[in-house]
């Protein structure tokens, strides 16, 4: 757990940002107009993501304040059983906002005892976008949407089972 904390809290994030800025520098040399369009798109994204970041901060704070490892163990830990899988699926389906905002929350929960398999299930279940389902129906039909959603939920469980095996072998 200390290793995970060190990874998340160390200089890795700043190195990553420096590399991305380097990529932007290169991209600017190759195609300046597309890069300036990307920067404009970044400003728009940032505007949209800012409220989500506030939510992420609040979630991290609430998790730290109220969810002790014992409670997480009950709902999302090794002893959570079917309840844990259900919480992960429903949580993933209901979770909104960009996926990278959720990495921070899941990392916090993982450090407090959430099973890696349930992290994988949560992330996979995010593929079921409830607000966008009417649009999926509009483009591909109701039967296609129902079948696809069913397989997405089934494969979210499969991804969790695979990750459980992988983590068990570490």
């Amino acid at each position: 757990m200390k290793k995970q904390n060190k990874k998340r809290g160390g200089t890795g994030g700043w190195i990553f940002l420096a590399v991305v800025l380097g990529i932007y520098g290169l991209s600017g040399i190759i195609d300046a107009s597309q890069t300036s369009r990307a920067i404009a798109s970044f400003m728009q994204l940032l505007d949209k993501v800012l409220p989500v970041l506030v939510l992420v901060f609040l979630l991290i704070f609430v998790i730290d304040l109220f969810l002790n490892p014992k409670r997480i163990e009950t709902y999302l830990g090794q002893k959570s059983g079917i309840k844990g899988w259900l919480v992960a699926i429903i949580g993933g389906i209901l979770a909104t906002g960009p996926i990278y905002a959720w990495y921070a929350v899941l990392s916090e929960l993982k450090q407090k005892g959430m099973r890696a398999s349930l992290v994988a299930v949560f992330l996979y279940s995010r593929a079921v976008k409830l607000p966008l389902l009417p649009l999926l129906v509009h483009y591909f039909g109701i039967h296609y949407t129902m079948v696809l959603v069913l397989y997405l939920v089934i494969f979210s469980l499969i991804s969790g089972l695979v990750m459980e095996r992988v983590e068990a072998n570490v």
């Binding site: 995970q4 994030g13 990553f16 991305v20 932007y24 940032l46 991290i60 649009l135 696809l148 991804s159």
Partner: protein, 142 residues
């Protein structure tokens, strides 16, 4: 006691948040770059080879794409109108929302490298499996 716990939690949360901030900013920058450069590259002309090659290509393109899922639905609808198979379009829209090549560095930094790599590989393979299962199930139910 409660005040001290609140202060401690607030300080810890702030520290965690500041540490993840460069990762999120980096992710937003990468996503913006991918959104700007990428969707224009996906066109019906890319497909039309062997079906499995097209499915692999659709799944790969979806894995690299980082835009809103709605874009994948619109793009998928356009590709179908242009004659691209439902196998390919399904692989594209499933990998679009499950695999995150652009997000991989952030996922690795926050959830662990091994976890991120294996999870994305599983998602990539499952996008291909779902594309076949969905279309065959559709054919079965008529």
């Amino acid at each position: 006691m409660l005040k001290s716990k609140l202060e401690q939690s607030l300080r810890k949360s702030l520290h965690t948040f500041i540490n993840i901030l460069p990762i999120i900013i980096g992710m937003l920058l990468l996503t913006s770059l991918a959104i700007t450069f990428f969707p224009k590259m996906i066109s019906p002309e890319l497909f039309g080879q062997y079906e499995i090659v097209d499915v692999l290509l659709g799944s790969s393109l979806g894995s690299i794409a980082a835009g809103h899922p709605l874009v994948s639905y619109i793009l998928g609808g356009e590709l179908i109108n242009e004659g691209v198979s439902l196998f390919v379009v399904t692989a594209l829209i499933v990998s679009w929302v499950t695999v995150g090549v652009v997000q991989l560095p952030a996922e690795a930094l926050m959830l662990g490298r091994r976890f991120a790599l294996v999870r994305n590989l599983v998602c990539f393979l499952s996008a291909i499996a779902i594309s076949y299962l969905t279309v065959y199930t559709m054919r079965l139910i008529g």
